[in-house]
Amino acid sequence: MELLSNLALGFSVALTPFTLFLAVAGCFLGTIIGALPGLGPSNGVAILIPLAFSLGLDATSALVLMTAVYYGAMYGGRISSILLNIPGDEPALMTTLDGYPMAKAGRAGDALVLSGFASFFGALFATIGLMLLAPLLSRIAYQFGPSEYFALYLLAFSTLGGIASRNQAKAALASCIGLGIAMIGLDNQTGMPRFTGGNLHLMDGVDFLVAIVGLFAVAEVFVFIESHGRESSIGVKLGKVTLPVRDLTKGIGTMLRSSVIGFIAGVLPGAGASLGSFLAYMGEKNVQGKKGGFGTGVPKGVMAPEAGNNAAAGGALVPMLTLGVPGSGTTAVLLALLLTLNITPGPTLFTDRPDVVWGLIASLLIANFVLLAMNVPMVKMFVHILSVPAWVLLPGVMMISFVGIYSLSGSYFDLLLMIFFGIVGWIFRKLDVPTVPIILGILLGNHMEDALRRAMILSDGDWRFLFGFRWHSSSGGYEFYSAIPSSLLVLAVAGFVAPIFLRRVIKRPQAVSD
């Protein structure tokens, strides 16, 4: 009953004409961003954030717009996977395996429609999961003290770092660079400036939006320039688009299994949509066995990864909203958006700002239906957009980045910093060093440091406190007051070490930066 009244509150926020308009606009933009090769969801959301601020949107509206873009990009990614054999974003990578063969066999329309429905199924499943699971997770707020938070942040770094790259050392290096950048600015515990070199522009630290736009969008442009902007031409002609009912009904079991796997992968802090689609595809391949013919262009091979990655995208919102720990690169960018809007995601968000949370959930439900309409009957429109030449797209991305950042802070210093991050991002791409852990470091570095220092103040510098032991002066002994810190620390170590071994078993075809 409480759920229903919460949903009613959410729809009362989401069904205002302006919010609806934002959701539709976000879905449209997101689908385009997803469809364009190279412009993934994290880049897309990062580019659009400053725009949301200059429009003066309030918290709920900005969040609705950005998550609609996020969901839209997840849908859109499959379009170029199927037609061009180039994933529009990394989570859509697995869709190329069966999508492109289907398109070559003349079933491009079927592949697009089936994957559109699978996306819808996965995203709807995840949104409902978010609705049911998130309030439960939010009740644990009062269980989380400084030690618990420190362990949680460590978990985020080690798991995201662990799968963000093919090389643990490079992921760890990137995390440390991010943590180092986070140390610039006022020290939260004492209010004293650190590493600013007396520069007032650095007193507030490095703005994460500047770093995000630099590392993602500007670096993307550099990479594109270097490759002379490969012409994006449609490789396969799209015929008539019809609804393959039989394939759809046969694939319901596939979509359900894939959604469950994807959602769980998404909820785990640090996993994200790429892992979701990967696990869903591999899992379904095992279920179907050799007869399934995965990899040769079968409908189920398109539906499984799409249901998986969209479910994971929704699942990744759960830890972001309830714990303040992003489950993926894009949710890290969304977290940045929330922090800038003065909303601190975390266990108290559901009680403090029910309008924001439930408005968001209601808009996600609406966005899903809008996206289904856009991506099935109207899919041809987006196919045309795919032929936008790079010389139009690139200056556009560059312009939006500059205008966006300048309108945010009005500071030329931030523009220089953004270009600097663009160059760093480009170099790191060459070196195969993942950039997502850097962002995570800048975002969470101060929180992690604060948690550690608070724990040390409360325990008079006793490190055992970090593992859940509290000194009792009255009894003269240690009390094991909570198992949460130790469990999280064990998970953190496992999350960092496991990929080293798993990598041999599941050969990941490409680095994850979703």
Binding site: G145, N188, Q189, T348, D450, I457, L458
Partner: protein, 321 residues
């Protein structure tokens, strides 16, 4: 083309001359839109125009950076005698100046013209805490300073930390470096930690605790004002419990140093008019502010006193040398 350009140039000169003659008042909010300083500028600016104290709408400029330091440096170095400029300030401005956090700039480089509202300081405990009064808490700290840890929304040495220390000093407890304080990201976080039992007390502003007070999850031991706050009559003041401490997060303005005494007094009078308006009274109620009006020279000497006290306390706890 040439004539067009000349006409443009002429227009530009005329508009510059025009703006010099009837310059609009500018209010600098030294933070991004949405915070307390932004609120101060927008509310006071709007009311100044609505009640006819200024001739044209007040233009609000957001100049975030350095916790207000960027705007402070801008005013001191570039706008030192601009009599159409007001800048939003609060207790945080005074605390940072006292603790030398504005890169060496000092409080005497501007003039503090007035405060017209304040967020009262409070000290709260979880509903299941054994402390029933401020006295209980002080006694426990005197017996074992490490047994009570405080959480607050400001950094160590910040105003929330100082509130507790002021009370303890008043109670005759001098070993204030022994008092445990952790700085959290805002009052909401500080309260959550207190309810969760990780800290034994929370120190913050009245506006931060209203929701938790109403839901019954916390108990306010004391409010740090001279009189009980309207709307919260059942929260006793520290003064009536025998601790003579008043600590409020005032909201006000400063103006450049170089303006004439007459201009300074005029701004004081305009602020007084805003304080007396019904519009401001409504805005205070809506935003959890208590009445607190001091303007002109009276306010300047009060701020000087606050800064001197802060310097003394900060030296004792080692935040500054």
């Amino acid at each position: 083309m040439k004539t067009k350009f000349r006409a443009l140039a002429l227009g530009a000169i005329m508009s510059v001359a025009g703006s010099a003659a009837f310059a609009a008042t500018e209010c600098i909010a030294p933070a991004n839109p949405g915070g307390g300083w932004d609120f101060t500028c927008r509310q006071i600016g709007k009311i100044l125009y609505d009640i006819g104290q200024v001739d044209s709408p007040v233009q609000v400029t957001n100049m975030a950076g350095g916790g207000g330091g960027l705007a402070y440096s801008h005013v001191v170095n570039e706008r030192g005698d601009d009599n159409n400029l007001i800048v939003a300030a609060s207790q945080a401005t005074a605390t940072r100046l006292a603790q030398n956090a504005y890169a060496g700039m000092t409080a005497d480089q501007v003039r503090f013209v007035g405060a017209i509202g304040a967020d009262p300081g409070v000290i709260v405990v979880a509903a299941d805490s054994p402390f029933m009064s401020l006295g209980d808490m002080v006694d426990a700290i005197k017996a074992d300073p490490g047994s009570v840890a405080f959480g607050g929304g400001s950094a160590a040495g910040g105003f929330d930390h100082l509130k507790v220390l002021m009370v303890l000093k008043e109670a005759g407890f001098t070993d204030i470096t022994k008092v445990k304080y952790i700085g959290l990201d805002g009052g909401g976080d500080a309260i959550t930690q207190t309810i969760g039992g990780f800290t034994q007390g929370m120190t913050g502003d009245m506006s931060e605790i209203v929701g938790f007070l109403q839901s019954g999850e916390v108990r306010a031991l004391a409010v740090l004002t001279e009189e009980r706050v309207p709307g919260f009559e059942d929260v006793p003041t520290a003064v009536e419990q025998g601790f003579d401490v008043v600590a409020v997060n005032w909201r006000g303005l400063y103006v450049p140093k170089g303006i004439s005494d007459a201009d300074f007094e005029a701004w004081g009078a305009r602020l007084q008019a805003v304080a007396d308006s019904q519009e401001w009274k409504d805005a205070m109620v809506a935003n959890g502010l208590a009445p607190f009006t001091k303007v002109g020279g009276d306010f300047q000497s009060w701020v000087d006193g606050v800064i001197a006290d802060t310097v003394e306390l900060s030296k004792e706890i080692g935040v500054i040398q």
